[in-house]
Subunit: 544 residues, 2 copies
């Protein structure tokens, strides 16, 4: 390649978390950040607190390369940590406080935390673990009530800030510097560490803005929105919106511990217009006492974490909520696709199907649906394959886990482990988890689609479909059903699948090898069907 | 810094022009791109043409490291070159067709063009230059009329595309690969080459979106806008909006050669809602025959290139146009600041002052106003200094011009050469060009502010203020005035400045050393006051 004679590079401006904070402080110094009924401050005050926090942490020796963990509800203090810790060149470890104590200990140890900032409510979880943390670790307590500083703790957050320097000077950082770290759990094995760099977080934020902000009318995300997260900030950076809202100078409301009644009160009091959550949280809010009295007609909600059930979508729409589904995972920062928000703005007719669909990739996100040999499946909305992706913000891999990382990035694309179809217009539809799909005679059969058909059979209370090893076909479908009292459903289940095959809704390979009536279907601790346990039990002949 | 044990990087997704095209093609394959009355095609068709063009250029040996120049009006073909050329790893040289023939020859030679794509209208400009181009150069003619291919030309654009491959495969590129190159001219010296990488263009696009898209209501730039550039695409990539519109999948209308009557017809026919231009073009459109008959009440216009005059802003607003000023320069990709679009949306009362102001920096753009020692001036809206900036998309420097580059980036900040003030809320206001500011006794006196005061004196037809060397004060102001017939204005000019000083509108140092009545004020070839010539003439005693 020939030399174009460019001059030496006189600047090399990096994509950093600090540049996102600077943008918000410049755009809207008077804008407000509220925490429940505890704090109501301006962005300028917030910026000063970020500097004070950083100064306090630096004074404790927590600088470049350090790992600073946080255990807190969704608070203004957590948001301060989102900026101050990475801006120091340290890594923010967002601890999932819902993990078991042993898992929390594992993540603290594996992350090599140098400090842990703990809300007082989580002291009962942390204190018993302290004797088993072998590295030296600084402990700082977070409280709104002036609680006493526990034995062995370095101090209390507000006290440290008060002694900090609002003019603290941050180091210049390479954009590849690690900014965040958290752990994702599967059904087996230890939690896996997922990390993101400054660059990845800035680019994810810009791409999400490029998806949400250009939505016509009141939809999407605009600078006059009032933002309140309803996703724990330890779940993939609260899906990135706290960073985005801050960069754009948007008014923010932090709810603290999730309490549906208080959430409703905050929505009413502050005129909250934009939130994101899992289906369970939205259902809790809609069903909370006094919910009907609160006007939710200006509230936009993005649902992620699991599929948006049609019933919940309709219930939300009945309250005037502008609801859409999104899709992503811990390893993708997380946003990959969003339901078509443009199409539902001002639309007449029923928009439910559009709102609950997986939708299209956000800008700069490449999504493919591929066969095992990594060739694209036809974009016919029918042929299934694994969903794989590329974008400049996907995680580089799992921390200290070469094998897991190699599997995640096999063939140079991030493997989601989800199975789906691609429509001719590029719309993605998810059909199953890869580990649950039934691979029979070269065909992929969605276990979820089989369960959907059998669940609709009168007398069936519940159904679970799994693939069982088959010498000739690789795998063949087996369906467990729980019958309602007195019902006999096995023959009807076979007939229902046959009818769906005849109607072209299922491939002919979907006809189950066996339908077995059982008294209960094995579940995981969080209530999901445990297909791994079902396959093991079937292999051991437990249902025979 | 300690080793965090990250796994090896399994992917390294780069920020490329190709990823922006991919985003648009994925988001909106059926969206339309229109060129005047010549072409109306879908994004999918556009994408195929980009691939065909790239294939044709590659077949001519124009690949990584090549320089491909374009001379065209604002057309769909130019947009195709915006993508195909950089995606090949080649540099797109956007030739300013308004330069003098000698300057055009200089830029072709200095850029080391390997190919030039020339619209037939510019053949009379190019043909006489060909014998003086010493490097081998491929020539391709662009026409809508099936013109014959001139002697020595390789072919005609549409013919090459017809033979091209719609499935052309592009190389993977590093994001630092040079994508574009153009030349900027000052009042003296040769044109200077300014280049941008893929990364810089992607980041500029994302930051402009993060500024324009979150504007509430119908303001800013949304996916349902209809976009038509009214800035030549050779002026800093048509300010970047062709790339942005394509990435977002927005409907685009290309106007070809600027003809106010046809521009109005295109606005009416296609419902154009978003454009950008210099003040002159907007004035032409507003004053064109039949203009009043066209509904412009859904048209949003961004004005750049020079300050937005209040009178033009009011005339535009009277037609219902949502008009705002922007500020930037060739070296800044270009957008630095934009007037506050949020504040004017749905505002009651007169918003003119807000619309014509320089406004605030776009996200990730840092702007400072500094004294010569690079310290910030007070943010009081009064103290002046030079405007300097940093952002991840500013040019690295001038091509093969170490001295110019070093001056541009002195102290690690890009020097705009503009003088301005910073208000307490971070709003920038420009007051003068640095080279025209009068530096007296440590104070900076705006030559424009002095001219504004003296121009308002009855009997003054025109005024020009310059700084002349002074042994004691460094410089002292001298004002040239052209008096209306029969008027005697020198004493009144002195009195007017004294009154402005007394009122606190000018510093006391602004009192002019001399006011000289002249018959004419020296101008440049484009009609601007030539202060360099005035200073030289004064020094030589020509006005004495």
């Amino acid at each position: 390649m020939r030399d174009h004679g460019e001059s030496a590079m006189y600047h090399d401006q990096q994509l950093t978390i600090g540049s996102m904070l600077h943008a918000g402080l410049t755009a809207a110094p008077e804008q407000r950040i509220v925490h429940s009924d505890v704090v109501d401050m301006s962005y300028a005050q917030f910026g000063a607190r970020v500097h004070r926090l950083a100064s306090a942490l630096a004074a404790l020796g927590l600088g470049q390369g350090a790992v600073v963990a946080v255990m807190d509800y969704d608070s203004h203090r957590y948001l301060e940590c989102f900026f101050a810790v990475p801006m120091l060149g340290a890594t923010l470890h967002t601890i999932n406080v819902r993990l078991s104590p042993e898992q929390v200990l594992f993540t603290i140890t594996h992350a090599e935390d140098d400090a842990i900032l703990v809300h007082e409510d989580f002291l009962p979880l942390v204190m018993p673990l302290l004797p088993r943390i072998t590295r030296p670790v600084r402990l700082i307590v977070l409280t709104d009530r002036g609680a006493t500083v526990p034995e062995g703790f370095t101090g209390e957050y507000e006290g440290l800030l008060a002694a900090g320097d609002a003019g603290h000077s941050f180091p210049d950082l390479a954009e590849t510097t690690r900014a965040t770290l958290f752990y994702t759990t599967g059904t087996t094995g230890d939690p896996k560490g997922v990390s993101y760099s400054h660059r990845q977080l800035v680019l994810h934020s810009l791409a999400v803005i490029a998806c949400f902000a250009p939505v016509p009318g009141r939809g999407g995300f605009k600078r006059d929105d009032v933002y309140m997260p309803l996703t724990p900030l330890f779940h993939v950076h609260g899906w990135g919106f706290p960073l985005i809202a801050t960069m754009l100078g948007v008014r923010q409301v932090y709810p603290g511990r999730y309490d549906p009644v208080r959430i409703l009160a905050l929505i009413a009091k502050h005129g909250v217009t934009f939130s994101h959550c899992v289906p369970t949280i939205l259902a809790m809010v809609l069903q909370a006492p006094g919910s009907e009295a609160v006007d939710l007609s200006r509230w936009k909600v993005i649902i992620g974490g699991s599929a948006l059930p049609e019933g919940l979508a309709r219930a939300a729409m009945a309250r005037g909520i502008d609801i859409h589904a999104g899709y992503g995972m811990s390893e993708t920062c997380p946003v990959m696709t969003i339901a078509d928000m443009d199409a539902t703005q001002g639309a007449t007719g029923d928009t439910t199907a559009t709102r609950i669909a997986t939708g299209k990739p956000i800008p700069l996100m490449q999504v493919r649906v591929v066969a095992p040999d990594m060739t694209d499946v036809p974009h016919d909305g029918v042929t299934t394959g694994e969903v794989v992706g590329r974008a400049p913000w996907l995680t580089d891999g799992y921390v200290r886990d070469e094998a897991g990382t190699a599997a995640l990035w096999a063939g140079g694309w991030l493997h989601t482990g989800d199975v789906g179809t691609m429509a001719p217009d590029g719309t993605l539809r998810l059909t199953d988890r890869l580990k649950d799909v039934i691979k029979s005679g070269g065909e992929w059969i969605s276990s979820l689609a089989l369960e959907s058909v059998v669940s609709a059979v009168p007398g069936v209370a519940e159904a679970a479909a799994v693939g069982m090893p088959d010498a000739r076909w690789g795998e063949r479908p087996v369906i467990l059903v729980v019958a309602k009292p007195g019902a006999e459903v096995e023959a009807a289940a076979h007939a229902a699948v046959a009818a769906a095959i005849a109607a072209g809704r299922l491939t002919k390979w979907a006809a189950p090898e066996r339908v077995l009536t059982v008294t209960a279907i094995p579940k995981t601790s969080v209530g999901k069907i445990d297909k791994k346990a079902i396959r093991a039990a079937l292999a051991a002949g437990h249902f025979a």
